[in-house]
Amino acid sequence: MHELNPTNWVRLYADYLLRYALFRINDTALCEDLVQETFFSALRAKEQFKGNSSEKTWLTSILRNKIIDEYRKKGKMHDSLDDESFYGQFFEADTEYAGHWKQPQFPQLWDDSVVEKMESREYYAILHQCIGKLPEKSVAILQEKYFEESDSQKICKDFNLSKSNYWTTMHRINLQLRKCIELNWVLK
């Protein structure tokens, strides 16, 4: 059984929780507030902690709900586009070229000089902005995969996704982020 030790919370979890929030929300001041609120809510809900999960997992789930509230406020919970309109942005629909890239959407060559800078601070800042434009669920999945490093089985279970829903979601993310990076970074 796990126990709560609020006198150690900041030392043990403040940095982790802040990094967790920053992955999803590109605003340090807001994220610091959310982490602070997380600790206060956790104190108020102390009695409800049953000890089934670790302190860290419990605090993270409280923070996650606060992040979701932020996305809800901004109306960015879901991808508002159905598959047809989403893919229609990138690919021809009804013509004899159905399923081919629309000409203005052709991926462009990223030269070596650009690729070499994909570890620069500037690049990550743009990537962060691009991730910030995704709907909540996409960012949550991306975070579980790359930040929490969960395997696809766990992600499917947590988000109640079939295998094929999972990789089509990843595909949407790839299409959106690739385009956003190309527009805002490669071609700038």
Partner: protein, 85 residues
């Protein structure tokens, strides 16, 4: 002609296979379809290469995300928590 239809796919499906490939192993047919499509289609070759670069960068992005609390603000926060106990 049958073989042609068996192996030819449009860009939309080819890019889907690129994303799927990162998550699970493709079937033999899917691998052939993707290989042939990429041989013939430059935009999809770019897409495929760039998506694998992006995937590496998501991982690095998650790792290097650094938190910026100052020691003072951490101390102040812990004090507030202690006061509420």
């Amino acid at each position: 002609m049958k073989l042609f239809r068996f192996l030819m796919i449009a860009c939309k499906d080819a890019t889907l296979l690129c994303s799927k490939q990162a998550e699970l192993r493709l079937s033999f047919r899917e691998r052939m379809q993707l290989k042939i499509h990429l041989l013939l289609c430059k935009p999809c070759r770019y897409f495929s290469k760039q998506v694998s670069l992006l995937q590496q960068s998501y991982r690095k992005f998650a790792e290097q995300q650094s938190a910026a609390w100052s020691e003072e603000s951490k101390e102040a926060l812990q004090k507030k928590i202690n006061d509420l106990l």
